[in-house]
Each structure stands twice: as C-alpha cells, then as structure tokens.
Symmetry: C2
Subunit: 271 residues, 2 copies
C-alpha cells in the first residue's frame, strides 16, 4: 500500500486549515478569512439548483478572470474531496448569503436545512491566494496589515452574459506605490486560477468607481498620495449576476468569508 508523501511544510498548513474548518463548522468562527491559513487556496462559493447550474457553468467559462472555476460538485453532493479531506459545503464556510429570486434575504452560518439533492456547488478561485504570493514577494497588502476586509466595487465593466446570468464585474482594490504595482502585476500573473493579473490600474473613474473610500462590499482601505489603486476581478461578480438572473434559490459565501481548502496556492501557479 503506497500513499503520496506530504511535506512537513504542507502537513502544518493542513492542520491549520482543518482546525479552522472545525471552528467554522462548530459556529465558533464567522469572520473574514483574509490572511488565515496562508499558503492554502480559499474559494468563492456559489450553490445553485441543478436546472440553473448549466447556465452558470457557461457563465464561468465565459468570464474566467472573475470566475476561475476550481471545483464543481455533482448534484446533491455536499462533499468536495478534491479540495480537502472531509470538507462539507453545508457547514464549512464562515457565513453564507441566501438569495431568493435574486434578493439577498438572509445570512446563515450553516445551510444544512436548505440542502437538497439538486444542489450543485461551484468553487471559484479567490484573491486571498494571491495576497499570500504578494506578501511572499515582500509587498505590503494594506487590507491585511490593517486587519480589514478588502475593498470591493461593482464596476461599469460588463461580464459576458450566459442566459439569465449577466451584470457588471466586481473588483477588489489594493493600493501600491507604482513600483510595487508593477511587481504585483508580475506576481499575480502567475496565478490565473486566483483571478490572475489585475484588470485595471490607476484610473478608477474609467471603470465607474467614483469614490475609492466607499466600497460596495468589504471595508474601506486608505490610498496614500504616492500610490495608485490596482484592481483585480473578484469572485463576488457572480453575486451581481445572480441578483440579475433571479434563480428561485442561490446560496453564496458572504464576501470575504471564504471556503478554506487543503490545496496549496502554489498548485494554482502556472510558472
């Protein structure tokens, strides 16, 4: 009987992730997962009835920068073994948004009571994966340094629609000096499954953002006078498309409160 060897480095990360997921499952942790379990992939979550899943799958394929698919479950299957040992999507996200006919009606910390054999789970890559890569490259990620959720904005940049799913792209914003912004582009280019390179830089007015200090999701993060804002596509983009598509039921994570997996960020890197 053989098994794949796991490095002691990875073993330590897995224990961190499993402990965190146990706390989340027990309802003891309901906060933002930014900066937690660094080194491991975190995921945006979208759960839809199977008769809406096909259209949403096309939506992800048409918008791979905002919706980089890293896993899709079979209908009714709550486990995601390819992302981590024992992950149960019904309980292992810190907080969920429940959308009924496109309206956000409730937040919950466990969705077992809503689960049925038609539910399909989509897991999309998340910018928290590249935040760890930015920090390893010596760059300061201000939202982490300030202990805040990242700033998110609904832009004027349209997604490519799929049937009823349509809407504008949501982006995250991180401020950097111009030299660090260039480095951040290089570092995140390696990680297309975590939204990859930025989609915009320097000119929020050109993508419909009037006030950088008034994010539509998450927390405000200061931009210093000698910095430029850098914008990455965000896995909250589907929540806008769901608002527009109005499926009878849809469950997502609450922005910033992600699924923590057992897989390494480096497994997402193309170089």
């Amino acid at each position: 009987m053989t098994r794949q060897a796991v490095s002691s480095y990875k073993q330590g990360l897995l224990e961190t992730a499993q402990t965190l997921r146990q706390q989340i499952r027990a309802g003891e942790f309901t906060g933002s997962t930014s900066g937690l379990a660094p080194g491991l992939i975190q995921g945006n979550i979208v759960i839809l009835p199977s008769d809406w899943a096909q259209d949403f799958l096309y939506f992800c394929q048409l918008n791979p920068v905002s919706c980089p698919l890293i896993a899709v479950s079979r209908p009714g299957e709550p486990l995601l073994p390819e992302l981590g040992d024992g992950i149960d999507i019904r309980s292992d996200v810190p907080e969920y948004n429940l959308f009924i006919e496109g309206e956000l009606t409730q937040t919950l910390t466990d969705i077992s009571d809503l689960w049925n054999d038609q539910m399909v789970t989509f897991v999309l890559g998340c910018s928290f994966s590249f935040e760890e890569a930015l920090q390893r490259a010596g760059l300061a990620v201000r939202n982490i340094d300030l202990g805040r959720n990242v700033s998110m904005f609904e832009t004027s940049m349209p997604t490519t629609p799929s049937a009823r799913f349509h809407g504008n792209t949501v982006v995250t914003m991180r401020p950097f000096s111009p030299a660090d912004a260039i480095r951040a582009i290089q570092v995140t280019t390696r990680l297309p499954k975590a939204h990859g390179a930025p989609v915009h830089i320097g000119r929020p007015d050109l993508i419909g953002i009037d006030d950088l200090q008034a994010p539509h999701f998450g927390d405000s993060v200061p931009v210093h006078d000698d910095e430029i804002p850098v914008f990455w596509a965000c896995g909250v983009t589907p929540q806008v498309a769901i608002r527009n598509a109005k499926p009878p039921v849809c469950i997502t994570h609450v922005p910033g409160k992600m699924l923590v997996t057992d897989r390494l960020n480096d497994e997402l890197a193309v170089l």
Copy 2:
C-alpha cells in the same frame, strides 16, 4: 563541415539588418531605427577609453535595468562578431554623439578618425526590442504608429554610482489604456536584457517629470485622456552619467539611432 541551420524566417531578418547596416555605413541612413528590422536586437552604444572602462562596467552591473549589458569589446577591437557578421562599431551606427570632458561637442555619422587602440565598446539592450514584442502581443506603440522617436525623460530616480559615473535614470514613456499597460508589463517582464518591466507607471510627478509633452530627448508623443503613461528605464541613462563623470572622450549613439544587430529579440527572452 557542419554549420548551424538558420531558419528562413531568421535569414530574411538577417538580410534586412545587413542591408540597413550597409546603408548606415555608406552614410545613406542617419535616422531613428525605431521600428526598423523588427525582430532583431538593437543596442545602445557607449565607447570609452580603457582606463575608464572598468568603472563604467561596474556602473552597468550596478544598474542592470537601465544598463543591460549585451556585449563588451576588447580595447581597440572595432568588430562585434557576437552581435553580427561584419559589424564595425566605427561606422554602423546611424549617428554618434561625441562627448569631450562630459560635454556633447559634436554629432558624427562615422567615428573612424577618432578610433584608437584603447577604445572599449559597450552595447546595452534597448527598448526597441520590447516594442516589437508589444506589437506582436497586439498592443499599439504610439511612437512607432506616429513615426516618431520615443519620448525620453531624465527622472529624479538616482542610479547607483560607480566611481565618477553617477546621475539620474533616463526613462522612455509610452501611453497605454490601463488594461494594455498591464499587458505591456507582462510582455516586457520576459525581456530583462531589453530593460525588462517598467520602472514606473501612472504618476510622472513622483519621478520628477513635470510635463509629459516636453521630453528631454526624442519626440513628444500624445497621451490620451483615458490612458496612463508607462515608463521604462532607458539606455540613454549612461549619457547622463558620462556628462557627470567627464571622461576625456566618450562616444555614444544619438538617442533613438541604435546599432542594429543580427541577433533575435527572442534570444533575450527569459520565458
């Protein structure tokens, strides 16, 4: 007797380069080489007496982004066989600047009368190599599209000094939409021997540039309202250091009028 096979693609480029160098050598072409012989490495030139060459070599090693060395000759050797068959540095640059004690005193189209057995030639990579890569990536390079020399600016960013060689970094500027600027960073990152990724983006005021339409070298190039300026380190940087170091004699190319070699830009790429 074996010889290395040359693709018909490269053979065509070599014939273009050799024809261009013959015209330059004959004094029939004295203009900017921007956009000419696309696909082949062009070089910035610095020629110094051997007793100044060591300090300048260190200067290049200390400032590899503005001064990416691609060839250094032995004292008195006018040929550069590693860069091209028959290249004679005394005649094969469209126009030369002659600096005496750091002062630009004359421009010439042939320096044979000034050559002696102490002259050392330095060839530095040039942004014209990455302009071809940008165009191949589908990006519009405005200075080429307008038939102008690129805009160059002396910035407030200091180089690392070596003995008497010191001064600020000279940059080239190209305007792009934010999305194209991000792509341009990705493309030029592959070419560290052609100045690599930009050194600055978006905020000319932070690097001592007051007026983008008043370049210190080259031509002015318009920046549209929905664009941001992107700045790359430039091989004219040594000409500022030479002005400050005041060697008894120094010969350079005239900015924008480069040595065209027989080597492929792709030979400079790291990925």
